[in-house]
Protein backbone atom coordinates (compact mmCIF):
# COMPACT_ATOMS: atom_id res chain seq x y z
CA UNK A 1 0.00 0.00 0.00
CA UNK A 2 1.43 3.35 -1.03
CA UNK A 3 -1.39 5.32 0.58
CA UNK A 4 -1.82 7.47 2.57
CA UNK A 5 0.02 10.13 0.60
CA UNK A 6 1.46 12.90 2.76
CA UNK A 7 1.89 16.32 1.18
CA UNK A 8 3.73 18.72 3.48
CA UNK A 9 4.49 22.41 2.93
CA UNK A 10 4.40 21.90 -0.80
CA UNK A 11 5.25 24.91 -2.97
CA UNK A 12 5.88 25.29 -6.64
CA UNK A 13 6.98 28.54 -8.25
CA UNK A 14 7.49 29.35 -11.90
CA UNK A 15 8.68 32.67 -13.25
CA UNK A 16 8.77 34.17 -9.76
CA UNK A 17 5.10 33.41 -9.17
CA UNK A 18 3.91 30.89 -6.60
CA UNK A 19 1.52 28.50 -8.35
CA UNK A 20 1.25 26.15 -5.39
CA UNK A 21 1.74 27.86 -2.07
CA UNK A 22 2.53 25.83 1.07
CA UNK A 23 -0.04 23.10 0.58
CA UNK A 24 -0.28 20.40 3.24
CA UNK A 25 -2.81 17.61 2.76
CA UNK A 26 -3.07 13.90 3.40
CA UNK A 27 -4.65 11.73 0.76
CA UNK A 28 -6.15 8.64 2.35
CA UNK A 29 -7.30 5.42 0.78
CA UNK A 30 -11.04 5.15 0.29
CA UNK A 31 -13.17 8.19 -0.53
CA UNK A 32 -12.72 9.65 -3.99
CA UNK A 33 -11.13 13.07 -3.76
CA UNK A 34 -12.08 15.98 -5.99
CA UNK A 35 -9.66 18.86 -6.36
CA UNK A 36 -11.94 21.75 -7.17
CA UNK A 37 -11.08 25.27 -8.15
CA UNK A 38 -11.25 27.95 -10.80
CA UNK A 39 -8.97 28.00 -13.84
CA UNK A 40 -5.47 28.90 -12.69
CA UNK A 41 -6.05 27.85 -9.09
CA UNK A 42 -3.18 25.37 -9.40
CA UNK A 43 -5.15 22.12 -9.72
CA UNK A 44 -3.12 20.65 -12.58
CA UNK A 45 0.20 21.62 -11.03
CA UNK A 46 -0.77 20.08 -7.69
CA UNK A 47 -1.72 16.82 -9.46
CA UNK A 48 1.57 16.80 -11.37
CA UNK A 49 3.52 17.39 -8.18
CA UNK A 50 1.75 14.49 -6.47
CA UNK A 51 2.16 12.24 -9.50
CA UNK A 52 5.86 13.07 -9.65
CA UNK A 53 5.99 14.85 -12.99
CA UNK A 54 7.12 18.12 -11.39
CA UNK A 55 9.70 18.71 -8.72
CA UNK A 56 8.47 21.00 -5.92
CA UNK A 57 10.39 24.18 -5.14
CA UNK A 58 9.78 23.48 -1.46
CA UNK A 59 8.05 20.88 0.66
CA UNK A 60 7.59 17.14 0.30
CA UNK A 61 5.41 14.53 -1.38
CA UNK A 62 5.69 11.34 0.65
CA UNK A 63 4.14 8.01 -0.15
CA UNK A 64 3.80 5.47 2.66
CA UNK A 65 5.75 2.87 0.73
CA UNK A 66 8.62 3.45 -1.69
CA UNK A 67 6.95 4.99 -4.72
CA UNK A 68 6.77 2.51 -7.51
CA UNK A 69 5.57 4.22 -10.67
CA UNK A 70 2.99 1.66 -11.69
CA UNK A 71 1.11 1.85 -8.42
CA UNK A 72 -0.08 5.31 -9.34
CA UNK A 73 -1.18 6.41 -12.79
CA UNK A 74 -2.43 9.61 -14.35
CA UNK A 75 -4.90 10.54 -17.07
CA UNK A 76 -4.42 13.94 -18.66
CA UNK A 77 -6.85 16.50 -19.98
CA UNK A 78 -5.59 15.86 -23.50
CA UNK A 79 -4.62 12.23 -23.91
CA UNK A 80 -1.55 11.59 -26.05
CA UNK A 81 -2.00 8.51 -28.19
CA UNK A 82 0.84 6.72 -29.89
CA UNK A 83 0.46 6.14 -33.63
CA UNK A 84 -0.51 2.52 -33.32
CA UNK A 85 -3.66 0.54 -32.57
CA UNK A 86 -5.74 1.11 -29.46
CA UNK A 87 -4.68 -2.31 -28.19
CA UNK A 88 -1.00 -1.59 -28.89
CA UNK A 89 -1.27 1.61 -26.86
CA UNK A 90 -2.40 -0.34 -23.81
CA UNK A 91 0.23 -3.03 -24.39
CA UNK A 92 2.88 -0.30 -24.58
CA UNK A 93 1.89 0.95 -21.12
CA UNK A 94 2.00 -2.57 -19.70
CA UNK A 95 5.42 -3.24 -21.20
CA UNK A 96 6.71 0.11 -19.95
CA UNK A 97 5.75 -1.09 -16.47
CA UNK A 98 7.85 -4.21 -16.99
CA UNK A 99 5.14 -6.69 -17.92
CA UNK A 100 6.03 -9.16 -20.62
CA UNK A 101 4.77 -12.35 -22.13
CA UNK A 102 1.53 -13.86 -23.24
CA UNK A 103 -0.60 -12.45 -20.45
CA UNK A 104 0.09 -8.88 -21.57
CA UNK A 105 -2.21 -8.87 -24.56
CA UNK A 106 -4.98 -10.53 -22.59
CA UNK A 107 -4.68 -7.95 -19.81
CA UNK A 108 -4.72 -5.13 -22.37
CA UNK A 109 -7.79 -6.58 -24.07
CA UNK A 110 -9.52 -6.86 -20.74
CA UNK A 111 -8.77 -3.22 -19.92
CA UNK A 112 -10.23 -2.15 -23.27
CA UNK A 113 -13.29 -4.25 -22.58
CA UNK A 114 -13.81 -2.54 -19.24
CA UNK A 115 -14.02 0.89 -20.86
CA UNK A 116 -16.20 -0.41 -23.70
CA UNK A 117 -13.59 -0.20 -26.44
CA UNK A 118 -13.03 -3.88 -27.20
CA UNK A 119 -14.66 -3.46 -30.61
CA UNK A 120 -12.11 -0.84 -31.71
CA UNK A 121 -9.04 -2.65 -30.33
CA UNK A 122 -7.40 -2.92 -33.74
CA UNK A 123 -8.27 0.60 -34.90
CA UNK A 124 -5.51 3.23 -34.94
CA UNK A 125 -5.76 5.14 -31.67
CA UNK A 126 -5.38 8.53 -33.36
CA UNK A 127 -8.49 8.16 -35.48
CA UNK A 128 -10.75 7.45 -32.49
CA UNK A 129 -13.08 10.22 -31.33
CA UNK A 130 -12.10 12.50 -28.45
CA UNK A 131 -14.29 10.60 -26.01
CA UNK A 132 -12.97 7.24 -27.19
CA UNK A 133 -9.39 8.47 -26.90
CA UNK A 134 -10.01 9.56 -23.34
CA UNK A 135 -11.56 6.17 -22.52
CA UNK A 136 -8.51 4.58 -24.10
CA UNK A 137 -6.33 6.73 -21.84
CA UNK A 138 -8.36 5.42 -18.90
CA UNK A 139 -7.86 1.85 -20.07
CA UNK A 140 -4.14 2.48 -20.46
CA UNK A 141 -3.91 3.73 -16.88
CA UNK A 142 -6.28 1.09 -15.55
CA UNK A 143 -4.50 -1.84 -17.16
CA UNK A 144 -1.77 -1.46 -14.56
CA UNK A 145 -4.34 -1.72 -11.75
CA UNK A 146 -2.89 1.26 -9.90
CA UNK A 147 -3.67 1.89 -6.28
CA UNK A 148 -4.13 5.58 -7.03
CA UNK A 149 -5.45 7.11 -10.24
CA UNK A 150 -4.93 10.84 -10.84
CA UNK A 151 -7.33 12.40 -13.34
CA UNK A 152 -6.59 15.93 -14.52
CA UNK A 153 -9.85 17.43 -15.82
CA UNK A 154 -10.47 14.32 -17.92
CA UNK A 155 -13.69 15.60 -19.46
CA UNK A 156 -12.80 19.28 -20.00
CA UNK A 157 -12.64 18.86 -23.79
CA UNK A 158 -15.59 16.51 -24.21
CA UNK A 159 -19.26 16.82 -25.07
CA UNK A 160 -21.94 15.80 -22.51
CA UNK A 161 -22.40 12.32 -23.98
CA UNK A 162 -18.72 11.50 -23.89
CA UNK A 163 -18.47 13.07 -20.44
CA UNK A 164 -21.16 10.70 -19.15
CA UNK A 165 -19.30 7.71 -20.55
CA UNK A 166 -16.05 8.79 -18.90
CA UNK A 167 -17.82 9.35 -15.58
CA UNK A 168 -19.33 5.87 -15.74
CA UNK A 169 -15.88 4.38 -16.22
CA UNK A 170 -14.44 6.43 -13.35
CA UNK A 171 -17.25 5.28 -11.05
CA UNK A 172 -16.50 1.68 -11.98
CA UNK A 173 -12.81 2.14 -11.14
CA UNK A 174 -13.79 3.73 -7.83
CA UNK A 175 -16.10 0.82 -7.05
CA UNK A 176 -13.29 -1.61 -7.86
CA UNK A 177 -11.21 -0.06 -5.10
CA UNK A 178 -8.89 2.32 -6.91
CA UNK A 179 -8.37 5.62 -5.12
CA UNK A 180 -9.60 8.41 -7.40
CA UNK A 181 -8.00 11.85 -7.19
CA UNK A 182 -9.58 14.06 -9.81
CA UNK A 183 -9.37 17.74 -10.60
CA UNK A 184 -12.31 19.54 -12.13
CA UNK A 185 -13.88 22.97 -12.27
CA UNK A 186 -17.34 21.49 -12.80
CA UNK A 187 -19.50 21.52 -9.69
CA UNK A 188 -21.89 18.99 -11.17
CA UNK A 189 -19.09 16.55 -11.85
CA UNK A 190 -17.61 17.08 -8.37
CA UNK A 191 -20.98 16.17 -6.89
CA UNK A 192 -21.53 13.17 -9.12
CA UNK A 193 -18.12 11.59 -8.59
CA UNK A 194 -16.70 12.93 -5.37
CA UNK A 195 -16.84 11.86 -1.76
CA UNK A 196 -14.75 14.75 -0.54
CA UNK A 197 -13.68 18.09 -1.98
CA UNK A 198 -10.36 19.87 -1.67
CA UNK A 199 -11.03 23.43 -2.75
CA UNK A 200 -8.01 25.19 -4.19
CA UNK A 201 -7.80 28.97 -4.43
CA UNK A 202 -4.73 30.79 -5.73
CA UNK A 203 -2.47 27.87 -5.02
CA UNK A 204 -3.69 27.26 -1.49
CA UNK A 205 -6.13 24.83 0.05
CA UNK A 206 -9.01 27.09 1.05
CA UNK A 207 -11.21 24.30 2.31
CA UNK A 208 -11.51 20.55 2.56
CA UNK A 209 -14.88 18.97 3.29
CA UNK A 210 -17.13 16.01 2.49
CA UNK A 211 -19.26 16.61 -0.60
CA UNK A 212 -22.52 16.54 1.31
CA UNK A 213 -21.32 19.38 3.53
CA UNK A 214 -19.24 21.36 1.02
CA UNK A 215 -22.03 22.23 -1.42
CA UNK A 216 -24.87 23.27 0.91
CA UNK A 217 -22.62 25.23 3.28
CA UNK A 218 -19.06 25.92 2.18
CA UNK A 219 -17.07 27.19 5.15
CA UNK A 220 -14.62 29.47 3.35
CA UNK A 221 -15.58 32.69 1.64
CA UNK A 222 -13.70 31.70 -1.54
CA UNK A 223 -15.50 28.37 -1.84
CA UNK A 224 -18.84 30.02 -1.12
CA UNK A 225 -18.28 32.52 -3.93
CA UNK A 226 -17.22 29.77 -6.31
CA UNK A 227 -20.19 27.56 -5.53
CA UNK A 228 -22.59 30.49 -5.79
CA UNK A 229 -21.10 31.81 -8.99
CA UNK A 230 -21.08 28.49 -10.72
CA UNK A 231 -24.39 27.03 -9.64
CA UNK A 232 -26.62 28.48 -12.36
CA UNK A 233 -24.57 26.69 -15.06
CA UNK A 234 -23.67 23.51 -13.22
Amino acid sequence: MILPLRVAGLSFAAGGRAIIDRVSIDIEAGPSTIILGANGAGKSVLMRLMHGLLQPTAGRVEWSAPAVRRQQAMVFQRPVMLRRSALANVIYALEAAGLRGTGTERAAMQALDEVGLAHVAQRPARVLSGGEQQRLALARAWALHPEVLFLDEPTANLDPGATREIETVIKAFDAAGTKIVMSTHSLGQARRLGDEVIFLHQGRVAERAPVERFFPQPASAEAAAFVKGELPWA
Binding site: F76, V80, M81, Y92
Partner: protein, 223 residues
Protein backbone atom coordinates in the same frame (compact mmCIF):
# COMPACT_ATOMS: atom_id res chain seq x y z
CA UNK B 1 17.30 13.92 -81.32
CA UNK B 2 17.21 12.17 -77.95
CA UNK B 3 16.48 8.54 -78.97
CA UNK B 4 20.14 7.73 -79.50
CA UNK B 5 21.02 9.20 -76.16
CA UNK B 6 18.79 6.87 -74.15
CA UNK B 7 20.16 3.82 -75.97
CA UNK B 8 23.68 4.76 -74.93
CA UNK B 9 24.91 2.38 -72.16
CA UNK B 10 27.25 5.11 -70.91
CA UNK B 11 24.26 7.18 -69.91
CA UNK B 12 22.81 4.45 -67.74
CA UNK B 13 26.20 3.83 -66.17
CA UNK B 14 26.31 7.50 -65.20
CA UNK B 15 22.77 7.34 -63.82
CA UNK B 16 23.63 4.25 -61.76
CA UNK B 17 26.74 5.85 -60.27
CA UNK B 18 24.82 9.02 -59.41
CA UNK B 19 22.17 7.06 -57.56
CA UNK B 20 24.76 4.89 -55.79
CA UNK B 21 26.71 7.93 -54.58
CA UNK B 22 23.71 9.99 -53.46
CA UNK B 23 21.83 7.12 -51.83
CA UNK B 24 24.95 6.00 -49.95
CA UNK B 25 25.60 9.55 -48.78
CA UNK B 26 22.01 9.99 -47.60
CA UNK B 27 22.01 6.62 -45.83
CA UNK B 28 25.26 7.47 -44.07
CA UNK B 29 24.12 10.99 -43.18
CA UNK B 30 20.79 9.67 -41.86
CA UNK B 31 22.55 7.24 -39.52
CA UNK B 32 24.50 10.10 -37.97
CA UNK B 33 22.04 12.98 -38.32
CA UNK B 34 18.90 11.40 -36.86
CA UNK B 35 20.30 10.48 -33.44
CA UNK B 36 22.13 13.82 -33.43
CA UNK B 37 19.01 15.82 -34.27
CA UNK B 38 16.94 13.85 -31.75
CA UNK B 39 19.54 14.38 -29.04
CA UNK B 40 19.65 18.15 -29.63
CA UNK B 41 15.84 18.24 -29.57
CA UNK B 42 15.58 16.50 -26.21
CA UNK B 43 18.72 17.45 -24.30
CA UNK B 44 19.20 20.73 -22.45
CA UNK B 45 22.74 22.08 -22.32
CA UNK B 46 24.49 25.47 -22.47
CA UNK B 47 24.95 26.71 -26.02
CA UNK B 48 22.01 24.70 -27.30
CA UNK B 49 20.33 27.68 -28.96
CA UNK B 50 23.57 28.68 -30.68
CA UNK B 51 24.03 25.12 -31.91
CA UNK B 52 20.52 25.13 -33.38
CA UNK B 53 21.21 28.40 -35.20
CA UNK B 54 24.47 27.00 -36.61
CA UNK B 55 22.77 23.76 -37.61
CA UNK B 56 20.00 25.61 -39.42
CA UNK B 57 22.55 27.84 -41.14
CA UNK B 58 24.53 24.81 -42.27
CA UNK B 59 21.49 23.64 -44.25
CA UNK B 60 22.52 26.24 -46.81
CA UNK B 61 26.15 25.12 -46.96
CA UNK B 62 27.51 25.89 -50.46
CA UNK B 63 28.45 22.59 -52.17
CA UNK B 64 31.64 24.00 -53.68
CA UNK B 65 32.88 25.03 -50.25
CA UNK B 66 32.17 21.55 -48.87
CA UNK B 67 33.94 20.13 -51.93
CA UNK B 68 36.95 22.33 -51.33
CA UNK B 69 37.08 21.40 -47.64
CA UNK B 70 36.92 17.66 -48.34
CA UNK B 71 39.42 18.11 -51.17
CA UNK B 72 41.91 19.64 -48.74
CA UNK B 73 41.34 16.80 -46.26
CA UNK B 74 41.79 14.08 -48.87
CA UNK B 75 44.49 15.60 -51.08
CA UNK B 76 47.89 13.91 -50.92
CA UNK B 77 49.29 16.52 -48.52
CA UNK B 78 46.11 16.59 -46.43
CA UNK B 79 45.54 14.83 -43.10
CA UNK B 80 43.61 11.97 -44.75
CA UNK B 81 45.71 11.92 -47.91
CA UNK B 82 47.17 8.49 -47.18
CA UNK B 83 43.80 6.86 -47.70
CA UNK B 84 44.08 7.68 -51.41
CA UNK B 85 40.38 8.50 -51.68
CA UNK B 86 40.56 11.67 -53.76
CA UNK B 87 38.92 11.33 -57.19
CA UNK B 88 37.08 8.14 -56.21
CA UNK B 89 33.32 7.61 -55.66
CA UNK B 90 34.09 7.21 -51.95
CA UNK B 91 35.29 10.81 -51.80
CA UNK B 92 32.05 11.91 -53.46
CA UNK B 93 30.03 10.00 -50.88
CA UNK B 94 31.95 11.70 -48.08
CA UNK B 95 31.41 15.17 -49.55
CA UNK B 96 27.68 14.64 -50.06
CA UNK B 97 27.34 13.15 -46.58
CA UNK B 98 28.80 16.32 -45.10
CA UNK B 99 26.50 18.37 -47.29
CA UNK B 100 23.21 16.66 -46.38
CA UNK B 101 23.97 15.82 -42.75
CA UNK B 102 22.96 19.27 -41.44
CA UNK B 103 19.76 19.20 -43.48
CA UNK B 104 18.60 15.89 -42.06
CA UNK B 105 19.78 16.76 -38.54
CA UNK B 106 18.06 20.16 -38.51
CA UNK B 107 14.75 18.85 -39.87
CA UNK B 108 14.86 15.88 -37.48
CA UNK B 109 15.55 18.24 -34.58
CA UNK B 110 12.46 20.28 -35.42
CA UNK B 111 10.14 17.27 -35.83
CA UNK B 112 11.37 15.56 -32.68
CA UNK B 113 11.15 18.73 -30.62
CA UNK B 114 7.53 19.31 -31.66
CA UNK B 115 6.61 15.72 -30.90
CA UNK B 116 8.54 15.74 -27.63
CA UNK B 117 6.48 18.69 -26.40
CA UNK B 118 3.41 16.59 -26.92
CA UNK B 119 4.66 13.21 -25.66
CA UNK B 120 6.98 14.03 -22.79
CA UNK B 121 4.55 14.13 -19.88
CA UNK B 122 2.57 11.13 -21.05
CA UNK B 123 5.70 9.01 -21.49
CA UNK B 124 7.14 10.06 -18.14
CA UNK B 125 3.82 9.26 -16.52
CA UNK B 126 4.05 5.76 -17.99
CA UNK B 127 7.57 5.51 -16.59
CA UNK B 128 9.33 5.76 -19.96
CA UNK B 129 12.50 7.87 -19.94
CA UNK B 130 15.75 8.36 -21.78
CA UNK B 131 16.53 6.16 -24.76
CA UNK B 132 13.22 4.34 -24.68
CA UNK B 133 11.32 7.59 -24.82
CA UNK B 134 13.50 8.84 -27.69
CA UNK B 135 12.99 5.65 -29.68
CA UNK B 136 9.23 5.72 -29.07
CA UNK B 137 9.00 9.28 -30.37
CA UNK B 138 11.24 8.61 -33.39
CA UNK B 139 9.19 5.55 -34.31
CA UNK B 140 5.95 7.47 -33.90
CA UNK B 141 7.02 10.28 -36.23
CA UNK B 142 8.85 8.04 -38.68
CA UNK B 143 6.79 9.28 -41.61
CA UNK B 144 7.65 12.92 -40.89
CA UNK B 145 11.29 11.91 -40.72
CA UNK B 146 10.93 10.51 -44.22
CA UNK B 147 10.51 14.11 -45.37
CA UNK B 148 13.84 15.02 -43.78
CA UNK B 149 15.57 12.17 -45.59
CA UNK B 150 13.96 13.20 -48.87
CA UNK B 151 15.13 16.77 -48.48
CA UNK B 152 18.63 15.40 -48.04
CA UNK B 153 18.29 13.19 -51.09
CA UNK B 154 17.04 16.07 -53.20
CA UNK B 155 20.03 18.12 -52.19
CA UNK B 156 22.51 15.29 -52.79
CA UNK B 157 21.24 14.31 -56.21
CA UNK B 158 21.01 17.89 -57.47
CA UNK B 159 24.34 19.31 -56.33
CA UNK B 160 27.28 19.54 -58.71
CA UNK B 161 29.98 21.56 -56.97
CA UNK B 162 31.10 19.11 -54.32
CA UNK B 163 31.24 15.98 -56.48
CA UNK B 164 32.95 17.89 -59.25
CA UNK B 165 35.81 18.98 -56.98
CA UNK B 166 36.42 15.76 -55.02
CA UNK B 167 35.43 13.36 -57.80
CA UNK B 168 37.15 15.12 -60.65
CA UNK B 169 34.50 14.13 -63.21
CA UNK B 170 36.64 11.27 -64.56
CA UNK B 171 34.95 9.44 -67.42
CA UNK B 172 33.77 5.99 -66.36
CA UNK B 173 34.97 6.44 -62.76
CA UNK B 174 33.51 9.49 -61.06
CA UNK B 175 31.28 10.99 -63.71
CA UNK B 176 27.72 11.51 -62.43
CA UNK B 177 24.61 13.08 -63.91
CA UNK B 178 25.15 16.64 -62.72
CA UNK B 179 28.84 16.79 -63.62
CA UNK B 180 28.12 15.29 -67.03
CA UNK B 181 25.40 17.84 -67.70
CA UNK B 182 27.80 20.67 -66.83
CA UNK B 183 30.55 19.19 -69.02
CA UNK B 184 28.43 18.27 -72.03
CA UNK B 185 26.70 21.63 -72.01
CA UNK B 186 30.01 23.46 -72.09
CA UNK B 187 31.19 21.10 -74.87
CA UNK B 188 28.02 21.78 -76.84
CA UNK B 189 26.65 18.19 -76.70
CA UNK B 190 23.21 19.35 -75.77
CA UNK B 191 21.27 16.11 -76.47
CA UNK B 192 23.24 14.12 -73.86
CA UNK B 193 23.00 16.96 -71.34
CA UNK B 194 19.30 17.30 -71.94
CA UNK B 195 18.70 13.54 -71.75
CA UNK B 196 20.50 13.35 -68.43
CA UNK B 197 18.63 16.36 -67.17
CA UNK B 198 15.35 14.63 -67.90
CA UNK B 199 16.47 11.43 -66.20
CA UNK B 200 17.60 13.43 -63.16
CA UNK B 201 14.27 15.19 -62.86
CA UNK B 202 12.37 11.93 -63.38
CA UNK B 203 14.37 10.19 -60.63
CA UNK B 204 13.80 12.99 -58.12
CA UNK B 205 10.12 13.13 -59.03
CA UNK B 206 9.68 9.37 -58.69
CA UNK B 207 11.36 9.28 -55.28
CA UNK B 208 9.21 12.12 -53.99
CA UNK B 209 6.03 10.60 -55.39
CA UNK B 210 6.82 7.27 -53.74
CA UNK B 211 7.52 8.93 -50.41
CA UNK B 212 4.34 10.96 -50.68
CA UNK B 213 2.28 7.83 -51.30
CA UNK B 214 3.88 6.05 -48.37
CA UNK B 215 3.13 9.01 -46.12
CA UNK B 216 -0.48 9.27 -47.31
CA UNK B 217 -1.09 5.57 -46.77
CA UNK B 218 0.47 5.75 -43.32
CA UNK B 219 -1.63 8.74 -42.38
CA UNK B 220 -4.76 6.84 -43.30
CA UNK B 221 -3.67 3.75 -41.41
CA UNK B 222 -2.19 5.27 -38.27
CA UNK B 223 -3.92 8.62 -37.98
Amino acid sequence: MLEGVFADPRLWQIVALSLAVSLSAVALATLIAMPLGAAIAVARFPGRQALIVVLNALMGLPPVVVGLFIYLLLSRAGPLGELGLLFTPAAMVIAQTVLVLPIIAALTRQSVEDAWQEYREQLRSLGVDGWRAALTVLWDIRFSLLTAVLAGLGRASAEVGAVMIVGGNIDGVTRVMTTTIALETSKGDLPLALGLGMVLIAVVLALNAAAHLVKEAAQRRHG
